[in-house]
Symmetry: C3
Subunit: 136 residues, 3 copies
């Protein structure tokens, strides 16, 4: 049994933004030399999430727009009295900090239109995503 960890550093530029980290995750996969198992992608921040979907510019803009609509900033949240980003925490709570993929023959099992994104909800900031691969 092998377990391999690596961080991905991401610098975000906007308050709400999707950053494609698929290539970074797959580079960690190759370095791990694990052929079969599971690959966990986990963001350690409470105002980010991991999203899996198609990398098409229209769609990534739609996702950002939808999240801003569903989790509006400054809508009278109590947490805004402490730190003015309740909307970001609410979206992160709904969407979750983690995604996990099957790994077979040294590759993530993912569909052609399944890219992996860090969703920034309170940027711009420097963010850290953990990739862990466990298997053999």
């Amino acid at each position: 049994m092998k377990i391999f960890f690596q961080h991905i550093q991401v610098s975000t530029r906007n308050r709400t933004e999707l950053i494609d980290i698929t290539r970074d995750v797959e580079q960690v996969m190759q370095k791990s030399k694990i052929t079969d198992g599971m690959c966990l992608i986990h963001t350690t921040h409470s105002t980010t999430a991991i999203i899996v979907n198609e990398h098409e510019t229209g769609l990534t803009n739609d996702i950002v727009k939808k999240i801003r609509q569903d989790f509006p900033k400054g809508a009278g949240w109590l947490h805004d009295r402490v730190d003015d980003n309740a909307d970001a925490h609410l979206a992160a709570s709904y969407l979750g900090p983690t995604s996990i993929f099957p790994v077979q023959d040294g590759m993530l099992i993912r569909g052609t239109w399944q890219n992996i994104f860090l969703l920034e909800l309170d940027g711009p900031r420097n963010r850290r995503v953990i990739v862990e691969i466990m298997g053999e």
Copy 2:
């Protein structure tokens, strides 16, 4: 350490639909002969998701209705200019392609009212769900 993979083929009949795949997943479990570990259920499509909840006909209809309300078709999304299914991608982004269950004594640890569903968001289509069991 053992790792077992199998696909489940699902043919969906409606645009938005829940298909109960619990029995299929449990058959893969039995074939794997793994007694303790984790069972990952992953759909490789970006217009489907995995949902875990009770199999009661009223409820599955409620879930479909709620998803259509929350992710309306043709609401001016940019991705609709490329492929007329942005609503399906948005719902899949929120709900996620994966569920993972603990496995103990050769069984999924799941509650009496926890069934596993493939959520079709842009059917009818032929879909593929990967089941991976890792453990011993």
Copy 3:
């Protein structure tokens, strides 16, 4: 390879409520004596979910308020004819029964503001959360 299971018992007091179970999960971690691997937190009920975010009282109240807004009780759901809690099942379907964390050096890899909560959606009740740690 080691696999360790333990239940956490939670008694909830309100219909909708967040219960911080981070300390309980970390106690299971320590008992497991597993240093590297993955930690799966799974609720076996279809009217609860697992949420990961900051433990700040304003924010936990905001999350409860947002869920009640997004999944209103008694909004004409079919499942309410069977059991008067369709809103709870809908929220649980969206938010999911599971979270999984990387484990390194005997600790969960989690951010400073990433606490683990059981989300009660149809309390008060006695609830059971499974913690499984797999690794070495």
